[in-house]
């Protein structure tokens, strides 16, 4: 009499263990929602990443003041007078100059037609093609940009599937101070047990 329930008990326990193993391996921990109508459908046709360049989309040569853009020729009919950095007053006083030795306005801006850039020999570079202006001095970088090796290239790596887009120089670099600005980094990962503490990390030095 006492043996049969024990055997049964063992059998039941085995069955229960088997069932629970089956259930917990197959079934997620959270309750499964049943209403198909509650399904979240996310539109990703525009991509899920913010691929706006550092300085956004840049149009042709304009003066940008509080979301307004003014044509240069609205104020300037060519340039004259003192053309050094000290001459910058009024609307242009916010410009920060840090472009190496290249600090004269007429190194890049055209002296007679203020809506275009200055090419070698007094020629004109259209105001919407500043890359050609940069190429005047930065030949090697321009060559690499043409190869898609300098600067970010967006969209497609393979031309068979779609066009790639090389960002223009001024979409990342401000021509008046071209160095990429300092940014705030995204948060660091947390230390897991697989990570080794860095050398010089005082929290892990002996005696710390």
């Amino acid at each position: 009499m006492s043996r049969i329930p024990r055997i049964k008990n063992i059998l039941y326990r085995c069955a229960a263990a088997l069932c629970s193993a089956l259930v917990f391996s197959a079934c997620p921990s959270s309750p499964a929602p049943d209403a198909a109508a509650s399904l979240y459908e996310r539109d990703v046709s525009a991509g899920i990443h913010d691929i706006t360049p550092l300085r956004g989309e840049r149009g042709p040569l304009r003066l940008h003041v509080d979301d307004d853009a003014f044509e240069c020729s609205g104020c300037h009919d060519g340039f004259s007078g003192d053309l050094s950095e000290a001459a910058i007053e009024g609307e242009h006083k916010n410009i920060v100059f840090a472009h190496g030795r290249n600090l004269l306005c007429l190194n890049c801006h055209h002296p007679e037609n203020s809506d275009v850039y200055l090419d070698h020999g007094g020629g004109e570079i259209p105001g919407d093609q500043p890359t050609l202006l940069c190429a005047k001095c930065h030949g090697p970088h321009y060559r690499e940009w043409e190869h898609g090796v300098h600067g970010r290239v967006n969209h497609f790596w393979d031309a068979r599937f779609g066009p790639e887009k090389n960002l223009d120089c001024i979409q990342c670099h401000d021509p008046h101070h071209p160095r990429i600005p300092e940014m705030k980094p995204e948060p660091p990962p947390v230390l897991t047990r697989f990570d080794h503490p860095a050398k010089g990390d005082s929290a892990h030095e002996p005696g710390a």
Binding site: P5, K8, Y12, A15, A16, C19, L22, V23, A26, C27, P28, S29, S30, A32, P33, D34, A36, S38, L39, Y40, E41, R42, V44, I48, H49, D50, P53, H147, G148, V149, H150, G151, R152, V153, N154, H155, F156, W157, D158, R160, F161, G162, L167, C172, I180, E182, M183, K184, P185, E186, P187, P188, P189, V190, T192, F194, D195, A198, K199, D201
Partner: protein, 324 residues
């Protein structure tokens, strides 16, 4: 036991006590058997209760399915559709799971300009968003950006946990490290179930549904590129990227490793990897190493490129270079 006594009492109350009854032992056995059956049924029902919520169990074909490389398109389709239904049931999100195949004449390679990288970790967050890594678990990110002092390439001197107010820091450079897509990957050699292998286009992939979670590959990787899902990933529906690939960014189950896969669901459709799309300084270059006029070949021919841990003889497809 108490119920058994009650039964006994009841029977005593109804009839005068009898010391010997030939039927009593049979009846008691019958009652006990009935009780046992009831307990068994209720236990079974209790244990099987969650099973009723399991609407979409794997079919017999899938349970006994062959290895990924031997699956017929029909069976693969069944698997993909079931994953879609499971994500819908478990994560409340409508997704598409595809399985793009390698392109002919394509072998992927990645180049990274260490002179350009400024350590902003934008690639890390984009990677997490693209690959359905829970945003609350930055330790699962595939890319680890290591802050290195200038004039050394010794990774032991690096610090992946930097948290400055602004970057780049003075006297430092930044080295983003993820899976190096080795030509001789140690991780695939140690896998006991062939759940990880190198595809013809040079990307080492993991079949999450075939893996048994032994974590040998984590130990084998010299670059610590693999992460392990100790828990079930918790992602809100609006955080899920519905454009999924079977070998790449489908939501991983608990108990399997994951790693960078060069965004296979994107790159096999010609798109750039997510990390490259968002890099604010343009430090990353991705392409086909077999294309003689491609970007990768241009860099290999014109720059002095480095590979990490060359002494490990893994022959990575991930190249680093400096530039003036």
């Amino acid at each position: 036991m108490s119920r058994e006594h009650d039964e006994h009492k009841d029977s005593r109350g109804a009839q005068p006590p009898r010391t010997t009854d030939p039927n009593s032992s049979g009846r008691r056995t019958f009652l006990k058997a009935g009780l046992g059956t009831a307990v068994a049924l209720s236990t079974g029902a209790f244990v099987a209760e969650p099973l009723r919520g399991l609407k979409d169990s794997p079919t017999l074909h899938e349970l006994l399915r062959k290895h990924y490389t031997k699956l017929t398109p029909d069976l693969m389709d069944q698997v993909l559709r079931r994953i879609e239904r499971q994500v819908a049931a478990n994560y409340c999100a409508k997704v598409r799971v595809n399985d793009p195949k390698p392109l002919d004449g394509v072998e992927y390679a990645y180049c990274l300009n260490l002179s350009r990288c400024n350590g902003s970790r934008r690639c890390v967050t984009a990677c997490m968003r693209e690959n359905n890594i829970p945003p609350d678990h930055p330790e699962m990110a595939y890319i680890r950006v290591i802050e290195m002092p200038n004039d050394t390439l010794d990774l032991e001197d690096g610090n992946p946990l930097y948290a400055h107010e602004t970057i780049p820091d003075q006297g430092k450079f930044y080295l983003p490290m993820s899976c190096q897509q080795c030509r001789q990957p140690p991780c695939t050699k140690v896998c006991p179930t062939h759940a990880t292998w190198t595809e013809p286009d040079g990307v080492t992939v993991i079949d999450y549904n075939w893996c048994i979670g032994c974590r040998c590959c984590l130990a084998a990787c010299p670059y610590e590129a693999r992460r392990f899902n100790w828990t079930r990933p918790e992602i809100r529906p609006e955080q899920i990227n519905p454009d999924m690939g079977y070998l790449s960014n489908q939501i991983r189950p608990r108990g399997v490793p994951e790693k960078c896969h060069f965004c296979l669901h994107r790159t096999r459709l010609g798109k750039n990897p997510a990390c490259m799309e968002v890099c604010p300084t343009g430090a990353r270059v991705f392409g086909n190493i077999l294309d003689p006029n491609g970007k990768i070949q241009y860099i290999l021919k014109n720059k002095r490129v480095y590979i990490l841990k060359a002494e490990a003889h893994t022959f990575p497809r991930f190249y680093y270079f400096f530039e003036k």
